[in-house]
Amino acid sequence: MNIVIVGAGSVGSELVEQLIREGHNITVIDSDQKNVQNAVNRFDVNGFVGNGGSLDTLLEAGIKNCDIFIAVTEKDEINVLACMVAKSLGIDNTVARVRNPEYISMANETNNIGISMMVNPEYQVSEEILNILQLPSAINIHNFSDGNADLVETKIKRDSILNGVTIKDLHLYIRQRILICAVLRNNEIIIPNGDIKLREDDIIYFSATERNIRSLFQDLKINKKTHKVFIAGGSKITYYLAKGLDRIAYNVKIVSPDKDECKFLADNLNHIDVIHGDPSDQALLNSEGYKNADAFIALTDNDETNIMLSTYAHSSGVRKVITKVDNDAYLKMTATSPALDTIISAKLSTAEQIVTFVRTFTGEEDNIVKKIHKISDDRAEALEFTAGETFGALNTPLKDIKFKKNVLIGGIIREGEFILPTGNDEIKVADSVIVVTTNNIFDDLNDILG
């Protein structure tokens, strides 16, 4: 596929990296010579320097031949304008990154202004954090099929009932029906068969309904409630997150060193304490009682500060620590750090969203990808497909289907009902199927068949 990406900043280059891996032809446009140079040097792409909102630049870049147009520059207005221009040139599939809260209501009007999808990374990330705060024992939660099923990431602690349990005996220890789809052990992803024995410090990924997850955590006695939330940094993520927390009446404190950010937050939020000060000022942290917080969330613009603050909060005994990291190198370094449990990245979550969008076009029309979640820094993927007429193994019991290696059916959702798959279950037309795999370029449900 021919893809034009306007904006080669951090999100842009992440996108280039992921889409190149999937084998697309990519053209990059950026007004900054350095960014374009960087992209061209690192990847096998074509690059143009110029304003992405300008018709001339787009024509020069050969936009007429492109199948998907993606605008992810720093400036919302440029992104929207670029998409509108692209649409007027006959490009039907356009993606714009729009981050300003004031434009968020525009998302409902996207079709009218020529944008197929609007991504708001900050909002996306804030929703992820909200999900995690409601089940703080989970490191991460991925929603499938509009929330009918979740894929939960959690760590096996030393005193956990699950420590030392073999997967096929799981039902002897817990009442809830869950399916362990992947295990991360020593930096390796294992797609488990029934014989694997869970160990301390394993990170497991399991699929279940939200109700089952809650009751499981209750049985495991790790369902502690989060009420007091301490947020360092007052960026857009903080705003969206605080707005969400405000709605469900959490006790929230925000510390930001930027006076204007503080003013904006205080003006636009109702029951939230906004504190002007440096979050790395220990005296300030102490006087605001950060130790008593149920969750500490580091969302400053600086990765190093976030990592330091989170480590400090963790060592002070704060139960749940969430850290925002965007730098690639740091993401790799922190992925397995014991001091940081949940790591979120606006960049990755945007890329995830856009890659999902791109893959819906590359597969067969029938068996399209609905959702992709990256597991453990791209080591594996959990995908949601809709099964169509052309799927090669319709109405066949799962035990009789020959799958590719390292493929696991994590769940089937039929008419909003989550089915935990056993060997006798079948995939029917219009089912949503959750597939967990370490082969990373599935774009069609038929790809899972061996």
């Binding site: 503080c262 003013k263 937050l265 205080a266 003006d267 636009n268 109702n270 906004v274 504190i275 002007h276």
Partner: protein, 496 residues
């Protein structure tokens, strides 16, 4: 200082006053010959001034009122109101009403009318003839919604009045426009104003036709009384044709009707426009309106409870009846009376004094600080407490869920300071000059009553200088201080 605008407005005001005089002349035909002549001459002179300014306008260069600066606009407004009050004082000089002896008294009476205060020096209101009464009533009604607002409403399509002067006459800290054209805005406001006045008249007159007056049938509102009270209620003025005010009629029906209409007139008139567009729910979303309802209900029960427990009234329902009327009459700054509050317990008087200062809503015809200012000041006070305890907190003051700008907050605080200073100065002056040995509390209430445009008080024994100062206080209270204060500020008069 550019006087062209002031002169032009004075011309139009003169025309309005001439119309008022004409109504009075009609009712004065069986009065003494001097009085008939007086009205006739008033009409002639005022009409003359009106025509002269019109001719000046036709033959001189056209004044472009849109380009006038704020200072000129606001000073012009002050000049015009002062002019109206001085002209309005003349008839009182000729009628020889007991209590109104000299020009200071007449000026006090006239300023009380235009500012919608309703304070009167007349020893016996019943003795004022209808011809003078209706002049008082019309003055009050004109002043209620504002003279300049009326002029703006009558302007032609190509003319417009500068918004500083229009806004200076509309009470309240922040003025929201309903529509883009000031002229249309003024028409909507006056339309609502006239609508409310007519509605009240109809309700009162229905009462009279059905005999709603007191049981003996002697205390009925006459047709004239109905007209007069409709005019003074909608202006939240409070003049009455009777010395006992509404209490004279001793009728629950009249009291309920007047209470409802006082309430309607202490509500922001913009809300009626919003209700017409968005239904009643949108009104309840307004923070000022909700606060007003809360204050009314709290004060209603507080006052009724106090007067009942002090056994001023035998039954609680009586206490509620008189208490509620007094609370609404005070908060709306109308100042009608149904009871002798001098006999009420001390604390209820203090509560009423507090209510005088809060006043009604912004954008209504009522006086006082206005509820929206009161809410902002309270929030600002709480912010002070919180930021002392938590010095690093960034706190935001919101009205209707929207942040209040620092400028508006500061100007509100400054307004409050000026308000208090003028009040303190006036009280001190009244206490200094001969005041007929009234108690400090009664004098304080009287000054507050004038300054906040309510009305009742003890004025008869005051020195003439006190009366003139109080008259200025009334105008200042009505015009939100600045137009009158700028008149006393020499720099405002200079052209440089």
């Amino acid at each position: 200082m550019n006087y062209k605008l002031a002169i032009r407005i004075i011309g139009i005001i003169s025309d309005f006053l001439a119309v008022a005089c004409f109504v009075s002349l009609g009712l004065a035909l069986d009065e003494s010959i001097e009085i008939v002549y007086m009205w006739a001459i008033m009409i002639a002179v005022l009409a003359g001034i009106g025509i002269t300014t019109l001719l000046l306008r036709v033959f001189s260069k056209k004044v472009d009122v849109t380009t006038l600066n704020a200072k000129t606009g606001i000073v012009s407004l002050g000049i015009c109101w002062l002019y109206a009050s001085v002209i309005g004082a003349i008839p009182f000089m000729f009628y020889k009403i007991p209590g109104i002896e000299n020009f200071a008294d007449a000026f006090f009476e006239s300023a009380s009318a235009f500012s919608g205060t309703g304070a009167s020096l007349a020893l016996d209101t019943d003795a004022i003839p209808d011809s003078l009464q209706i002049f008082r009533g019309i003055s009050q009604w004109l002043g209620g919604m504002g003279i300049v607002v009326l002029i703006t409403a009558l302007l032609g399509k190509d003319e417009s009045i500068s918004s500083p002067i229009f806004n200076a006459e509309m009470p309240g800290p922040s003025k929201g426009k309903l529509v883009s054209k000031t002229r249309v805005n003024a028409r909507i406001l006056y339309g609502i104003y006239i609508g409310i006045t007519v509605a009240e008249f109809l309700f009162l007159y229905v009462g009279t036709v059905c005999g709603a007056g007191s049981a003996d049938g002697e205390h009925q509102m006459t047709l004239f009384d109905c007209v007069f009270h409709s005019l003074t209620t909608t202006a939240t003025g409070g003049f009455s044709t009777k010395a006992l005010s509404i209490g004279y009629y001793n009728s629950l029906y009249y009291e309920i009707i007047i209470t409802i209409f006082m309430f309607l007139c202490m509500t922001n008139f913009n809300l009626y426009f919003i209700i017409m567009k968005g239904g009643f729910k949108s009104a309840f979303r307004d923070e000022e309106f909700r606060t007003m309802m809360l204050l009314i209900i709290l004060n209603m029960f507080a006052i009724s409870g106090i007067v009942f427990s002090a056994q001023v009234y035998q039954t609680f329902s009586d206490a509620m009846r008189y208490g509620t009327f007094q609370v609404i009459a005070t908060m709306s700054t109308t100042g009608y009376g149904t009871a002798n509050i001098l006999d009420w317990p001390l604390f209820s008087k203090v509560l009423l004094l507090g209510m005088m200062f809060i006043g009604g809503s912004a954008g209504s015809t009522s006086g006082g600080l206005k509820i929206s200012r009161f809410v902002m000041l309270m929030k600002s006070g709480f912010k002070g407490i919180r930021s002392t305890a938590f010095p690093n907190r960034v706190l935001s003051i919101k009205m209707n869920g929207k942040p209040v700008s620092e400028e508006l907050l500061n100007s509100t605080k400054n307004y409050f300071l000026l308000y208090i200073w003028i009040f303190v100065f006036s009280v001190a002056l009244v206490c200094l000059l001969p005041n007929g040995n009234n108690s400090f509390l009664d004098l304080t209430i009287s000054v507050a009553s004038c300054f906040n445009d309510i009305g009742p008080g003890v004025f008869g024994d005051l020195h003439w200088v006190s009366k003139v100062v109080l008259a200025f206080d009334m105008l200042a209270g009505r015009l939100e201080l600045f137009p009158i204060l700028l008149l006393l500020y020499p720099r405002a008069w200079s052209r440089f």
